[in-house]
Symmetry: C2
Subunit: 270 residues, 2 copies
């Protein structure tokens, strides 16, 4: 159903307005239970994963490539000028979709589904990093992701975009309880591996993962909490060059570390 909108302040567009204000955006998304998917490919993946469409915002030029998947969704067609004015930036591939969130499974439910390789993200704050890690995890065969209570939201617009839609293909859940979170993983039969820059830990490639594994990744900057580091079954590290350590290059960024660790996990538990 096409609706041509010529007034940028039209109340039909409120899902899309004030995109620039990050804080407001976050609370609006949580409050209304919506999220935004950007670009044809990502919108297709969200629809394919079963998320209901609230509406789509696009321009005349970008309508055609999406028409086959939109069904009877409401589509607001605006001018290029209104589009970039509302979005506050150049929208690549010219479409935004407002989608309804689906209820997340509980951690217990997610763990019961099985899967040998789990990733656990503790308190990551950067949405781009969360998105990039979901993308790597999906490509490298991770079966599910568990978020700490305070970890950044994978359905925040920036995370969705950077993940290229991988946030829709990989099942995830959010812990209610950080303090006892690892106990739940152990009860489900997961060997918990804490990734640390500490070079005295076991090199990730030498870990023999015979059964089910949960790899724990800590926040940007601070890394894993000491509570989780102590609670984990084993600490693992990515070996770094001695020259780098001497020069003070003492860690990898979390996206690089996650990629190497997921790759190692896929090798060791093939």
């Amino acid at each position: 159903m096409l609706e041509y909108v010529t007034d940028p302040d039209d109340p039909r567009l409120t899902d899309y307005t004030r995109l620039r204000d990050v804080e407001l955006r976050k609370s609006l998304e949580a409050e209304r239970g919506l999220f935004l998917a950007e670009g044809e490919k990502v919108i297709r993946r969200a629809i394919g994963a079963g998320y209901p469409i609230r509406s789509v915002l696009t321009t005349r030029r970008w309508l055609a490539p999406l028409e086959d998947v939109l069904g009877d969704a409401t589509v607001y067609v605006v001018s290029d000028e209104i589009m970039s004015g509302i979005a506050g930036f150049q929208v690549h591939r010219g479409a935004l979709a407002s989608m309804e969130r689906l209820p997340l499974p509980g951690v217990e439910t997610l763990l019961k589904r099985g899967g040998r390789r789990m990733l656990v993200l503790e308190d990551l704050v950067d949405h781009s990093n969360v998105g990039a890690i979901f993308r790597s995890a999906a490509a490298l065969g991770v079966d599910g992701i568990i978020l700490s209570p305070r970890c950044a939201d994978p359905l925040y617009r920036r995370a969705v975009k950077v993940s290229m839609g991988a946030v829709f293909s990989i099942p995830y859940a959010r812990m209610d309880d950080w303090f006892d979170g690892l106990a739940q993983l152990r009860e489900a039969g997961c060997q918990t591996l804490a990734l640390t820059p500490d070079q005295t830990a076991a090199p990730i490639d030498e870990v023999k993962a015979a059964g089910r594994v949960a790899l724990l990744l800590g926040a940007e900057g601070d890394g894993l909490s000491s509570h989780w580091l102590e609670e984990a079954d084993q600490a693992v590290c990515i070996p770094m060059s001695a020259e780098a350590m001497a020069a003070g290059v003492d860690s990898l960024n979390v996206v690089a570390a996650a990629a190497i660790a997921c790759h190692g996990l896929m090798r060791s538990s093939r």
Copy 2:
């Protein structure tokens, strides 16, 4: 030498003004042969690597932590308000330094220095990606980086910041000639490995790198040019999960891929 500046339009601050305008910034930096280092840690690393300081811009509060390394450099001290006004964003760790570039070595000179593990970046456009790849490369024992003629500048402010200063610790050079660039690498005894998402290529972990290796990484989105793919001695890939490929998750982002590949290089040529 401290100079208190109270007028944001003071001509002494021109190195720092108009930070917001990316295009202008780029041309100014190239033209004047300067670059900007942000934050205490990164400024220390730039000074430690021998880059001459033109000046430092900071506030009263952030002056003390840097005082020991500034020597007789000119330091412009401004109010918090002027600082954030000029920088156009919240400056973390409150200091910017304008530094002079040093002449880059030629590719031939860089290759003559030796080093078994080289990385070659073809036409990357995103400064954050270039910075993150330098950071991973430094941590994972890459000996030098060669940039294609059009690859984004590692000394652009965003790249410097994301690299955490690794752009100062790892030697790099820029090719004059893209078309014959790989021939020069081969003449220097490098086995050239082209990283591709193509899953029929040799898995990176199975490559036996007996001698000197140059790993080629392509641009975001398009990957390596077909010319370089054909010219390279061997195509290598990072194995991906069959489920992911079926679901259309068909590649890793370049930072994740670079991290896995550098890690693999370090393992195979230890």
